[in-house]
């Protein structure tokens, strides 16, 4: 049997799965940000006409999946797997989204790294010929996450400059065995890293080692240099974590400063409220679906590396003073030749 593995952690696809379509739906703050015009749909308030934040998140995720399917001109019967995750307890937003579709469902949790975890798994399912089309989606809702992880939304408190703002956003991509569009070339699944950071208001510091390790392993496994990529996008180290991640890589002799961007920084204009940048499952998912996918589709890049990073803490683990385990998964995507 021939295996599609290279090095310590990378799956390389001989027949590359195609990212057939992608769609992003965001809330009002994200819509007013620098990428506002690129999103497929922007809601004018954070409840989206629903009675709770949780229902709103689920609606947003459903909307993203619907739009992605419509763009790919597929109906649900043609999709073999639906892979989704979000930030809420027991990934309930994804479960409510999935009950609306007649598609086999795989729920996953990787915090902000959910979308790259999903794209990795989806690509493997397609490359392994277990699926023709796979939908991957993830979402986060600022207010729903805030009340679960921190304080009630209307409670007045000051955020430290290292804090990150959970994005109200959802992204969905359709992966296919064939079709037109950018292709998933390789996926590097990260190992959990925990360097003892306990402060949930400083997730960038906690996630940076995971990011650096996964990027380093990816380049090692592929036998490449940073110059082989037009762009390395992390999601979501924020401003603070980006500087740390770049330095950690520099210590390993890898310089990505010129080509590195962070989804959490790209999504918002700087403000004290947003702090270090955006975060949440929807952040890098919407930046990829709204901006990067389109740019890849239009062949503005030859090859990019999307490295979504997840802080895998729970509200309970934080209250008990435990440190934050983090993971990062890298997806290398090339534009169609």
């Amino acid at each position: 049997m021939e295996f599609h593995r290279r090095g310590t952690s990378t799956c390389v696809f001989k027949e590359m799965p195609v990212v057939v379509s992608a769609a992003a739906v965001v809330g009002p703050r994200e819509g007013k940000g620098p990428l506002g015009d690129l999103f497929d749909m922007v809601y004018s308030n954070t409840l989206f006409g629903e009675s709770s934040w949780e229902k709103a998140e689920s609606k947003m995720l459903r909307q993203a999946v619907d739009l992605a399917l419509a763009k790919a001109k597929l109906d649900e019967t043609q999709v073999d797997f639906l892979i989704a995750g979000d930030l809420l307890n027991q990934i309930i937003s994804s479960a409510y989204m999935a009950r609306e579709y007649d598609i086999p469902f795989l729920g996953i949790y990787g915090a902000c790294a959910t979308i790259s975890e999903g794209m990795g798994l989806g690509s493997m399912l397609i490359a392994g010929r277990f699926a023709r089309q796979v939908v991957v989606a993830s979402s986060s809702h600022h207010d729903a996450a805030e009340r679960q992880f921190r304080y009630p939304t209307e409670f007045g408190h000051q955020r430290p400059p290292t804090g990150q703002w959970t994005a109200t956003a959802a992204g969905a991509v359709v992966l296919g065995a064939k079709g037109k569009g950018p292709r998933v070339e390789a996926v590097t699944i990260g190992r959990v890293q925990d360097l003892g950071v306990v402060e949930p208001n400083d997730m960038g510091s906690a996630m940076a080692p995971g990011f650096a390790d996964t990027v380093w392993r990816h380049l090692q496994d592929m036998g490449r240099k940073p110059e082989d990529y037009d762009l390395v996008v992390s999601g979501d180290l924020g401003r603070v974590g980006s500087l740390i991640g770049r330095q950690l890589l520099r210590d390993k002799g890898i310089v990505i400063d010129e080509i590195h961007q962070d989804a959490g920084v790209m999504l918002y204009d700087p403000s004290p409220e947003v702090g270090s940048g955006g975060s949440g499952c929807g952040c890098v998912a919407s930046v990829f679906s709204g901006k990067l996918w389109k740019e890849l589709y239009n062949k503005q890049y030859e090859r990019i590396l999307v490295v979504a990073t997840g802080a895998l803490h729970s509200p309970t683990s934080c209250q008990q003073g435990e440190s934050i385990p983090c993971v990062a998964h890298a997806v290398s995507i090339v534009s169609e030749e």
Partner: protein
């Protein structure tokens, strides 16, 4: 990789020092002082107004607190107080309006979980520790006063 050992954790923590932006402490203190002062001035204004209408002093204090609590709750309901809190920090949290905010905000948040297990159980999620330790401190101080002085 498993969890880093203590030495690695300490080394990483030291490494992070250079990257962490400092909190703007001076700005925060000045803004908190001014905002807290303004809220208290408003409270004093309410009190003076009530006293000038001839209410006995003791009742006037209670009524002033009630009015300020209502104002805090009202502004929380309008979605204004969280922005004030984010701007002024302790300056908005410490006056009684901030206490109202800390009680009303979870009440609003958890109303979807019902009036008993939602609002009832969670209302003092933020303010609870304040009440617990204020009661405890008051008890200790009272005991000291009773036996020592």
């Amino acid at each position: 990789m498993t969890k880093a050992n203590i030495r690695e954790q300490e080394a990483y923590s030291a490494f992070l020092e250079d990257f962490r932006p400092k909190r703007p402490t001076l700005r925060n203190i000045v803004v908190a002082f001014l905002t807290g002062g303004l809220i208290c001035t408003a409270g004093q204004g309410v009190l003076s107004c009530i006293l000038s209408r001839g209410m006995p002093e003791k009742q006037a204090y209670v009524l002033t607190s009630s009015i300020m609590v209502f104002a805090g709750a009202f502004l929380t309901g309008l979605g204004v107080y969280d922005k004030l809190g984010s701007f002024a920090g302790m300056g908005a949290a410490l006056p009684i309006t901030g206490f109202a905010n800390s009680v009303v905000s979870p009440a609003m948040e958890y109303k979807h979980e019902g009036f008993v297990l939602g609002v009832g159980a969670r209302m003092f999620q933020v303010a609870g520790p304040v009440i617990v330790y204020a009661t405890l401190t008051a008890t200790i101080v009272s005991i000291i006063k009773l036996y020592v002085f």
